[in-house]
Symmetry: D3
Subunit: 239 residues, 6 copies
Amino acid sequence: MANRVDGRKLDELRKVVITPNPLRFAEGSAMIEWGNNKVLCAATLEQKVPPYLIGTGSGWVTAEYAMLPRSAKQRVPRESAKGAPNKRGIEISRIVSRALRAAVDLKKLGERTILLDCDVIESDGGTRTASITGAWVAMALAVRRLEEMGQASQGILAHQIAAVSVGVVEGRAALDLNYIEDAQAETDMNIVMNELDEFVELQGTAEKRCFNRTQLEQMLAMGQAGIAALFAEQKRALG
Amino acid sequence: MANRVDGRKLDELRKVVITPNPLRFAEGSAMIEWGNNKVLCAATLEQKVPPYLIGTGSGWVTAEYAMLPRSAKQRVPRESAKGAPNKRGIEISRIVSRALRAAVDLKKLGERTILLDCDVIESDGGTRTASITGAWVAMALAVRRLEEMGQASQGILAHQIAAVSVGVVEGRAALDLNYIEDAQAETDMNIVMNELDEFVELQGTAEKRCFNRTQLEQMLAMGQAGIAALFAEQKRALG
Amino acid sequence: MANRVDGRKLDELRKVVITPNPLRFAEGSAMIEWGNNKVLCAATLEQKVPPYLIGTGSGWVTAEYAMLPRSAKQRVPRESAKGAPNKRGIEISRIVSRALRAAVDLKKLGERTILLDCDVIESDGGTRTASITGAWVAMALAVRRLEEMGQASQGILAHQIAAVSVGVVEGRAALDLNYIEDAQAETDMNIVMNELDEFVELQGTAEKRCFNRTQLEQMLAMGQAGIAALFAEQKRALG
Amino acid sequence: MANRVDGRKLDELRKVVITPNPLRFAEGSAMIEWGNNKVLCAATLEQKVPPYLIGTGSGWVTAEYAMLPRSAKQRVPRESAKGAPNKRGIEISRIVSRALRAAVDLKKLGERTILLDCDVIESDGGTRTASITGAWVAMALAVRRLEEMGQASQGILAHQIAAVSVGVVEGRAALDLNYIEDAQAETDMNIVMNELDEFVELQGTAEKRCFNRTQLEQMLAMGQAGIAALFAEQKRALG
Amino acid sequence: MANRVDGRKLDELRKVVITPNPLRFAEGSAMIEWGNNKVLCAATLEQKVPPYLIGTGSGWVTAEYAMLPRSAKQRVPRESAKGAPNKRGIEISRIVSRALRAAVDLKKLGERTILLDCDVIESDGGTRTASITGAWVAMALAVRRLEEMGQASQGILAHQIAAVSVGVVEGRAALDLNYIEDAQAETDMNIVMNELDEFVELQGTAEKRCFNRTQLEQMLAMGQAGIAALFAEQKRALG
Amino acid sequence: MANRVDGRKLDELRKVVITPNPLRFAEGSAMIEWGNNKVLCAATLEQKVPPYLIGTGSGWVTAEYAMLPRSAKQRVPRESAKGAPNKRGIEISRIVSRALRAAVDLKKLGERTILLDCDVIESDGGTRTASITGAWVAMALAVRRLEEMGQASQGILAHQIAAVSVGVVEGRAALDLNYIEDAQAETDMNIVMNELDEFVELQGTAEKRCFNRTQLEQMLAMGQAGIAALFAEQKRALG
């Protein structure tokens, strides 16, 4: 069977390396290098919650995703220069927020917010799944520090979470699309799972051609295998 | 088996009625009443495309979703009053845009844009799937008029598209969640399909509890049946 | 005497029908269909007032007017897409606010705000007067509910208020201009009156040719008659 | 009959002085001092028109009204600091624009725009009528310069325009309300007229109590007399 | 030695006149006319401080600089029309703020804010130094009133502050550049000093050609002399 | 003499390392690590110029400076979240722009724009001078590539430019202040120089206490020595 544009097999992940705590100030941080992607993830702990949670005893997890201007071939203008919100960025921020929130026991977190900043330094397809996978490590490091300081209950981190993209390229399911593959994919799907092999979020979009049940099964199988490898790298990074 | 909050069976759709062309000015329009939801969908034909498509011979389809202030129990402030974009609205607009785009042969459309406005007049859970299902009828009416005027090639409308939500409520898969069910669902999934039983978009989110493979299978089966009923109502509306 | 573009006599009102409480959630609502205009009016009761009224014992009434994108022949872009406030909408919102405020005894209302949303679904000239006339019914229904719940003093609604446009078209005064007449009118005047035949707001603008005292007298007489008919329809809607 | 708060008679105008061309750069300008009001009016000639007028041979007149931060007792925040448009300023800008447009033969102006900036340096009630009255002088000076340079047809300035406020204070009609009277007025009306005693704009608002036909007649008579005095001062300023 | 474009010697200041308290409402104000520049400076006293100073016992001084639309040959659009902040205005506002803050003993001021509005009515080069020099007088008048009312400690005004521009034009250092000189200057430097001949802010920019140490010395000497003259005029204005 | 907070001598620079071309896509890029500061500088070449330069044959250089949210101890909110421009960032962007523009012969550049993005990944005082020093290397690499491709005239890069901060801390002049020193400095000055020992920009601000001529001399001497060391590191990075 013919190989992919970068020589990988259809079910082969690009190389992933997560470096813990590259930042001095963040309560937890992680640099994830995934193929040519490079995303800096920072976790901030805030002693406050959104207005509608005040007095509920429950915490909150939210994320912001953005690309540095020259993380892409074509320069991405800053929002301040465009005078308009970046709609793609808003959609991705919401997906990353939901994924990370599913990892935390919000009651045990208490009335605190964990804010995850995912800033893309270099991009090559799959930055939203890299953001989720790296931000989970940044969050785990921040929670560990919080627990070590004895300021919060144990067990805040309820699940391990990672994400990977799969797609249908030239009629064949493939794992972890890079930018060139992503641009020509018929279908692109992001899979977020936890350590129990359960789904946290599943988002598949027919970019050029709709996908059928068989292709869905193939993509889910490939994604599940990829996520197992990502769980291992996350654990390695946490030491 | 115990019935649902509004007495429906687990695989039962709420009543759906689509009224064609309620608006005088739009090139095509549809009012979709789906349970207590009421969404006004209007299709506008513009003789221009976004800058990056000029000269390609290809057209564009895009959508804007918004809620009227008192379509909900709690008044939704207008963007002009808040001074900030509505992030939920932006995410939904992007999903509706992608779904409708998958229905059209953009080459046959030519350098035109079809802009779909989905304005929610009353809401009760599932306004994004109602928007997709109703906007497809508005678009079909606009394309029909365009073709009848002999101004464009035939076959612009390549697929029939409809969408429905499914979820896991109290551990059981259920079709077409209303607002109360949606608020207490463990998982919420939106399924967009075409007339060939293929997927256009699949977006499942674990709101409270992650979902497993078995639950996914159940939800997909329920969704497919629901969409078949929606296809029938769309055809009835088009006469 | 030659008839008007739609066959009406110079002092003839278009058909007006007000439907009470079309919305499930609003504290009061009204759909006003006036010729081809269709405006959805919703009243929201808020248990707060603007900062400068806190502690004064006095309430507030304010309104927001907007057009749905395809309520007009030429699509009206949303503010969020234009990135700029709609200046015409702001001017009309202020006029509608002042008119409705004149109907209420703000001291008896107490420290509450009544917020009126007027959303134009179809337009054909005269949407601001339709908004005032319909919003008064929505407000009356909300106040009635408030009084029935025994939560407020009686007599909050001090006046009945309605509005109509008059103009000078081809040198002759005419009542209730439609879009075509409005576009070619020399002068356009909006008259807001109460049940005592007093003026609440009078706004006349020479669009193409200035108007004299005689024309002013004719327009005021026509307007007063038109408003009497609107008062009757408002009462019918309130049952 | 009891005198007013500043000793004036009911039909007495405050002192008005218009100084021509106080600015070095504007094509025409005027400083109007009216009682304690002080408004700087500048006319700018632009060799372009809004998009919808291109190719029609017709010109445009528009105005922008704003208050300097300390023109009022309570500092008025700048829009850039508030991050929101000033709705009162937008409404007044639109009224001033319409009034000045009625003074010009737009066809003779040709495809040019006259932009009038009205900046309030000190305020004491009636700044919108002062803006209209002063801006007319600034515009007349700019048109005179244009005609003297032989760059445009003669007769661009079709009418003389001035504006004054009248009101009902403690049940009595009064001319030219100052800030204290304006705050306690039952009704406030702005009258814009041309040199033929015709109305350009008439805007009356019942601030506290609705007004009847008799009061309207009294206010119109007072306003007409006041405007005659303003026409004289405008002519004096133009020399 | 050849004279400058307006006949001045290289070390000659343009004529400067400061008029105290031209405004009725501001706690202190000054109109500074400097050559053809005309800047209105208003000081507002607010009984509050920015959030990070609450409870520190320390006050704050800040400034806002803006140009009226026709203060310049080319009309300056208002921010509200451009929909974007004026970056030059923001930079100047920050410089003026820092300069004025250096004049005040913030502890003695107590938890109050002095807000200085500098609005340019006419411009001819050097409006930022005119703003600083004029705003100091406005602030001194406001502080004097505050002290006279016995509401604050004595000695709030710790320093006298004035500012002047210098530059290198055609290779020669020159004091107080007007607009024409500023446009062709190789280097432009703004010097802010106090009454002890110390520097508050020094900002030199090589617009066309970098400057050397000798030129720096010449500019500083000229600036110091110019500021002495400005101190005298400030004192004259304060009486 | 007592050492500084981090043990350095008064005239000692922190360690500076510049890494060339860390980014795949930018036409030129540099990572500058300066003490604990880490700034990513990217140069983008655009084949267009601002409107007022079209047809002049002259190019343009501009810069944008921003901090990543967790580059600082206290998280810096994104502009998109705050809904307001970052005024400090705008002031620094303008200073960086002017400094880099002074390095280029704009006529030889031709009608192109070099846009420099300076994104702060970690901060510890002095990020604006690090941005200037690093961005010069990014720009030099982009210009080198442009010249090697034979698409532009030689000699576009007219000057070498670097920047350093100096200050007065506890009464003594000191080179290259870190964050702690910067916070307690009486005076802070940024010096930008070229390879001829000339000044490009000089900006000194008395933060807590004004500075005199002697202190100015000491700071300029220290700054000049520091910049010589930076020039050497820039050359090393360019190879």
